[in-house]
């Protein structure tokens, strides 16, 4: 009795009504700097706007910290280091547990604010960014009084003042990744969020106040590149932790050379996501989508190079396009939105530059139809088919929802191609065969290799790169080591 269908097309019929998250969030008209436990005016008296990238509406004005402000913040952190580093670990832990709990209590508020300031869908900020940020504080609170057990035979000691610079793709989560281990180990912190996404870091400062964290233990200064440079070059800093572009990472490494400052860098990536013919294809397609379209592709470990074994190329492409068409792009505050706004006009320009490069190279491009909202910065999920290793689309980090698909024939070929990149942050492997997974995890030069899943994060698991993706690890025991002096 089966009849020919007119159409097999996902996401047709039965349209969902808008379902915006309605929790109101108060945003001040202007934000000062958080130094020594107080909100202080920037000496520069300068402010810059922070906008909602989905609407281009101004949300607030953020202070631009000058060299002098940076100096004040570093001095406050240095002063606080004296007592904070001497506090017993279990006492430090109490503050950090408190921070984690308050974050959980105010989770919805943080999720909404993160989505408004950064453009990511509320589904992600609610289900990923905020819970993981809280988890990082919980996890590191647990280590605060157990550091000697983490490094048996050594006498772990805090380093001093840590200067931390974080990117705009996971503003709150990156702040948690940086601050939690630093203060758990007894260091004090001066943190600078990215200039387009300062709001949740500033709100986190309010949490520190609420938790009664002693003044100066964490200082939050806002600003752009010059503020960051002042922080990196300040002589009162003992450790720099940076997450961001490889380009800036190189500049930082040059400037701290010979200064005695410790350094960890978590930089760009161009991850290979490898699908073998024996993989569970439907789940692999999920992993491909999650790998590249999660957070609009603004993810340093995004699976931006897809390697598909030639025998399953047709099936994977067909199912991938099908799945892409079920992604809902639009208002990031809508609970049903899968793909939100591009973080800034500047980043959108970069992405569009690569799209036109790909087209100029004559690559087959596939994009979701359906257009994008008139206001704001948007890019439909995109893929390029049959890309060669020599194509710029396969080589450079685009940091957007753009997937380069390459095919391969043998396992040796795909290992060579996957490693044939200056980056080495992450990789994905999809196969039903355990032996293949073990082989690839040792052959792939990447800090994280996911097997039959992608973009899984946990505070217990170290994260970091090879080659130009940086050095040092965040998370787990390895992450603690980056914030301690371990000389016997």
């Amino acid at each position: 009795m089966s009849k020919k269908s007119k159409n097999l097309e996902p996401n047709t019929g039965w349209d969902f009504d808008p379902a915006p998250e309605k929790v109101p969030v108060e945003i001040k008209a202007q934000y000062d700097l958080f130094i020594d436990g107080k909100w202080v005016k920037a000496t520069s008296k300068k402010f810059f706007n922070t906008i909602n990238p989905a609407t281009e509406e101004k949300l607030s004005e953020i202070s631009e910290a000058s060299e002098k402000d940076v100096d004040l913040a570093v001095k406050a952190a240095a002063k606080a280091f004296g007592s904070w580093s001497k506090l017993p670990g279990k006492e430090r832990a109490k503050y950090i547990y408190r921070i984690a709990r308050i974050l959980q209590e105010r989770a919805r508020e943080f999720a909404v604010l993160e989505t408004m300031d950064g453009g990511k869908p509320i589904r992600e900020s609610r289900d990923v960014d905020v819970p993981l940020a809280a988890a990082h504080f919980f996890y590191h609170a647990g280590w605060a009084d157990k550091l000697e057990y983490a490094f048996p035979g050594l006498k772990p000691k805090p380093i001093g003042v840590a200067g931390q610079i974080i990117p705009w793709n996971f503003p709150l989560l990156m702040a948690a990744w940086k601050i939690a281990p630093a203060i758990a180990c007894g260091n004090t912190v001066v943190l600078k969020p990215a200039e387009t996404t300062s709001l949740t870091a500033l709100r986190l400062a309010e949490v520190f106040e609420e938790a009664g964290l002693p003044p100066g233990v964490v200082n939050i200064i806002t600003g752009a590149g010059s503020t960051g440079a002042a922080l990196v070059n300040h002589p009162g800093i003992q450790k720099i932790a940076f997450t961001g572009s490889t380009e800036v990472g190189k500049v930082i490494r040059r400037s701290v050379a010979g200064s005695g400052k410790k350094l960890t860098l978590e930089l760009g990536g161009k991850a290979a996501n490898i699908v073998f013919e024996d993989a569970a294809i439907d789940q692999a397609v999920e992993g491909i989508v999650n790998g590249i379209y999660f957070n609009q592709g603004h993810v340093c470990c995004a699976g931006s190079r897809l390697f598909v074994q030639e025998s399953v190329r047709e099936e994977v492409l067909q199912k991938l396009k099908f799945r892409m068409r079920s992604l809902i792009l639009g208002d990031p505050l809508d609970k049903n939105t899968d793909v939100g706004a591009i973080n800034s006009a500047e980043q959108l320009k970069t992405i569009q530059h690569y799209l036109s490069l790909g087209k100029k190279e004559g690559l087959e491009m596939y994009q979701n139809a359906g257009g994008t909202p008139k206001k704001g910065f948007w890019c439909q999920p995109t893929l390029f088919e049959d890309v060669a290793q020599s194509s710029v689309i396969a080589q450079e980090e685009i940091f957007g929802p753009v997937l380069a698909i390459q095919t391969f024939r043998t396992i040796d070929e795909v290992i060579q191609k996957a490693n044939n990149t200056p980056y080495g942050l992450s990789a994905g492997v999809w196969t039903d065969k355990g032996s293949k997974i073990f082989n690839l995890t040792s052959e792939l030069k990447a800090g994280v290799v996911w097997a039959n899943t992608y973009n899984k994060f946990d505070p217990t698991s170290p994260f970091g790169g090879y080659k130009e993706s940086g050095f040092g690890r965040e998370g787990g025991i390895h992450g603690l080591a980056a914030y301690l002096n371990l000389e016997g």
Binding site: S2, K3, L8, P10, G13, D17, A19, E286
Partner: protein
């Protein structure tokens, strides 16, 4: 006829399936789309009574309910079908008359399927002869688990032949299968052998239907359609009791197969208590507050 297993069987990754199935439950269905979805779910229900103590009286009452779900609410659909044992088909057929509500009969030594193949064919012919519009058969799980795929295939094909023009739903009883790979394999065998619908469960075994299993079956239906151009229907049965659950299933159908499957011709819920929960939600959407369960009839 025999089933030729494909060279490499489709493998299913359990973690991935659970994650994807969980994702559908985070969709937020509000206002108009909620009412539309609930009415759609109502129209897809196979109202079921499958008990040793079933009587013509009980079946007649259920059939009345099928046509009069909640008369004080204007514009409600009827359910899709009433599902009964073969001995009750005639009674159900008579009470449903020309209402458009179909009569589905279970068959093939439901629920265990532990009987001889010729008896299963006879039983199916009897049910169809009594007037069943649809036949819900069970597969021989024992044969599948012992690796006799051809037996399973041949049995479905011969029951299909006995169905004549009645539509055949093939119950995999996923709660008795060992893993997701087998759910996929049983789905493929059933569709190749002539199933018009594939169905998760008898409702007599726990676990009955759940979202991950249904997703695997919907994906099998999608792949079969892409290969052959033939539409196959889907029926999760057992364990779906709340309006919210039914909406989650519909989201899954919409995002996996799309509009053409969002009708009771191609998607059904095997359920008995689901209808009243949906009715309660619909009335709440209309009136703004929940009514007592006493206002919703039990048949």
């Amino acid at each position: 006829m025999s089933f030729i297993a494909p060279k490499s069987r489709r493998s299913i990754d359990q973690v991935g399936v659970l994650e994807r199935a969980g994702r559908f439950t985070t969709r937020s269905i509000k206002s108009k789309s909620k009412v539309e979805g609930l009415k759609m779910a109502l129209s897809m229900i196979d109202l079921t009574t499958l008990e040793g103590k079933d009587t013509p009286g009980k079946v007649r009452q259920l059939c009345y309910k099928a046509r009069h779900l909640h008369d004080s609410y204007a514009g409600l659909p009827t359910v899709a079908a009433v599902c009964v044992y073969p001995s009750m088909v005639k009674t159900a057929k008579k009470s449903l008359g020309s209402s458009g509500v179909k009569v589905a009969s279970v068959s093939t030594a439901f629920p265990s399927g532990q009987s001889a193949q010729n008896l299963k064919i006879e039983e199916t012919k009897y049910a169809v002869g009594e007037g069943a519009d649809e036949v819900d058969m069970v597969i021989s799980r024992g044969a599948l688990l012992s690796g006799d795929l051809n037996y399973v295939f041949d049995e479905i094909a011969s029951v299909k032949a006995a169905c004549g023009s009645s539509r055949l739903k093939v119950i995999l009883e996923t709660g008795e299968l060992d893993n997701f790979d087998q759910v996929r394999l049983a789905s493929d065998i059933s569709m190749e052998a002539g199933a018009d619908f594939i169905k998760t469960s008898t409702g007599k075994i726990s676990p009955a239907a759940n979202m991950p299993v249904t997703l695997i079956m919907l994906e099998a239906i999608r792949d079969y359609f892409l290969k052959t151009g033939k539409m196959i229907g889907m029926k999760p049965a057992g364990g779906i009791r709340t309006a919210k659950q039914s909406l989650h299933y519909l989201v899954m159908v919409k995002e996996t197969l799309g509009e053409d499957w969002l009708s009771n011709e191609w998607f059904r819920f095997g359920a008995s208590s689901l209808a009243n929960d949906i009715l309660m939600q619909l009335v709440k959407q209309e009136q703004g507050n929940y009514q007592s369960m006493n206002y919703f009839t039990i048949d």
